[in-house]
């Protein structure tokens, strides 16, 4: 479904060159949930933004659903982007529009009639369990509810791929759990391929099939989640596992207390 080849992205700041992504290649199978984990500054955000060309890579190719995005013209890219939805850490909803409008608006832009768009949008509210909040405004919702609106908006466009940029990082552990369950249900029911980036091991553990460990702009380890974390080969992966172990112990202590 997704194939990335020799992706390179460097930012030129006045003081220095930042090599955010250095020669990354990987592929994601149809219907898979693929996780990219790394510490902040590892290049995760840049990598995921290169997948729908929010960031244009300096070199390398990005293939999604049989099309090479890096070779498309602007207009064609806009069309392709409708097949690739994105969910952000900061939700990025339209604050002055109701929840329903947030979901139906991209459908209208894509050419649906207002009435149809709203009906479909309402369907997707049901999918994410927010139908009673359709008339509310984003400011009136909690973080978890806002992220569910963002998910409804993402699936409303009937995408083939959803990209998640730290989608649960701003949420508390419990809400994170419900959002992750929702994402994995969407993955199963609609067969949507999901690529998510995160710094939380827990997210990888709970829903990902495969994982890539990112460090300093490069993939240092990649494979099925169970394999990578059963036998980590690199220091980066080991560190993540130790960290997760500690988290679990802490939350265990909290429960006992």
């Amino acid at each position: 479904m997704i194939r990335v080849e020799h992706l390179v992205k460097t930012f030129s700041l006045p003081e220095q060159e930042v090599h955010a992504v250095r020669d990354i290649s990987f592929s994601v199978a149809r219907g898979e949930i693929f996780g990219v984990i790394g510490l902040s500054g590892a290049g995760k955000s840049t990598l995921v933004r290169c997948l729908n060309l929010l960031e244009r890579p300096d070199s390398g190719e990005v293939w999604v659903d049989g099309k090479c995005l890096t070779k498309l013209k602007d207009r064609e890219l806009e069309q392709e982007r409708r097949k690739i939805s994105m969910i952000f850490q900061g939700y990025n909803l339209l604050m002055q529009r109701s929840v329903l409008d947030n979901v139906s608006f991209p459908l209208e832009i894509a050419g649906l009639r207002k009435k149809q768009a709203r009906e479909q949008a309402l369907d997707f509210h049901r999918t994410v369990g927010l139908e009673e909040k359709a008339k509310a405004y984003p400011a009136q919702l909690s973080g978890g509810q806002r992220q569910r609106v963002a998910i409804a908006r993402a699936i409303a466009a009937r995408p083939k791929v959803i990209l998640c940029d730290e989608a649960t990082s701003a949420l508390d552990p419990e809400t994170t759990g419900t959002i992750l369950k929702l994402l994995s249900r969407i993955n199963r029911e609609y067969g949507i391929t999901i690529v998510l980036i995160t710094h939380e091991m827990r997210v990888i553990e709970e829903i990902c099939g495969s994982v890539a460990v990112l460090e300093k702009g490069q993939i240092v380890e990649m494979g099925a989640v169970a394999e990578v974390f059963a036998a980590p080969k690199t220091a980066a992966a080991k560190r993540l596992i130790v960290q997760r172990q500690r988290e679990k112990e802490l939350s265990g202590l909290a429960e006992v207390a």
């Binding site: 207009r75 409708r82 339209l94 604050m95 002055q96 832009i109």
Partner: protein, 226 residues
């Protein structure tokens, strides 16, 4: 009772003249505000999106207009141009030119600021949804910028209305000038008229600007909720 000399307002057509003067001030304000809002918005958008040259040009324009007192600008346009270029422009036209120049500069800065204040994520979300750059501006960025802009723009409007009182310095007979004339004419019969008349002018400006500021307040309150 304290004699404010308000009886001079009832003499002859004094009250009508005063209101006529207010209308002159308002006419100048309305014309300049309309021009400033339109041009300022256009320039603000261009400024935000333009290349380096455009941005440098806008910056110089804004700084020059801001640094110069409006009075100096008025003198420059009214007296300066007639001497140097032999242009015969009326005081009112000169006033409208100056206030439009000033208002446009301030407005474009507000517009640019409002657009810049929209978080990067909104652009990203719009692009990720497959919106073209134009659609993103039209449906996502500008509506949000407009909301932030409204109270600021209204504040600018009241500032412009108040500042039009300077135009009496280039011989435009607006409300303040009319008041001076009335006071001068009645200096002997009602020496206290100065206080009374300026007080009346205070209330006239208040009557014009207060509803506009109230509107701004209400919009800010609404924005805080949404």
């Amino acid at each position: 009772m304290l004699d404010l000399g308000l009886d001079v307002l009832l003499k002859g057509k004094n009250l009508l003249r005063l209101l006529g003067g207010l209308w002159v001030a308002l006419r100048i304000s309305i014309c300049s505000v309309a021009i400033s809002l339109v041009l300022g918005t256009l320039l603000g958008v261009l400024w935000q999106r333009g290349n380096r040259l455009m941005q440098a040009g806008m910056w110089i324009y804004l700084e020059v207009i801001r640094i110069m007192p409006q009075l100096v600008l008025l003198f420059l346009v009214y007296f300066g141009t007639s001497r140097t270029f032999g242009w015969e422009i009326s005081g009112e036209a000169a006033s409208i030119i100056v206030f439009s120049l000033w208002g446009t500069a301030e407005m474009s800065d507000l517009v640019r600021g409002a657009i810049t204040s929209i978080p990067k994520g909104q652009y990203e979300a719009a692009a990720a949804l497959g919106l073209s750059e134009w659609q993103a501006s039209r449906y996502v960025i500008l509506p949000q910028a407009a909301r932030r802009l409204l109270p600021l723009a209204i504040n600018l409007v009241t500032r412009m209305v108040k500042t039009t009182s300077l135009v009496l310095m280039i011989g435009v007979v607006e409300v303040l000038k009319v008041a001076q004339q009335i006071i001068e004419a009645n200096r002997m019969s009602s020496p206290n008229a100065a206080f009374g008349l300026y007080l009346v002018i205070f209330f006239l400006y208040f009557a014009v600007c207060a509803p506009v500021s109230r509107l701004a307040k209400r919009m800010e309150a609404k924005q805080a909720v949404g």
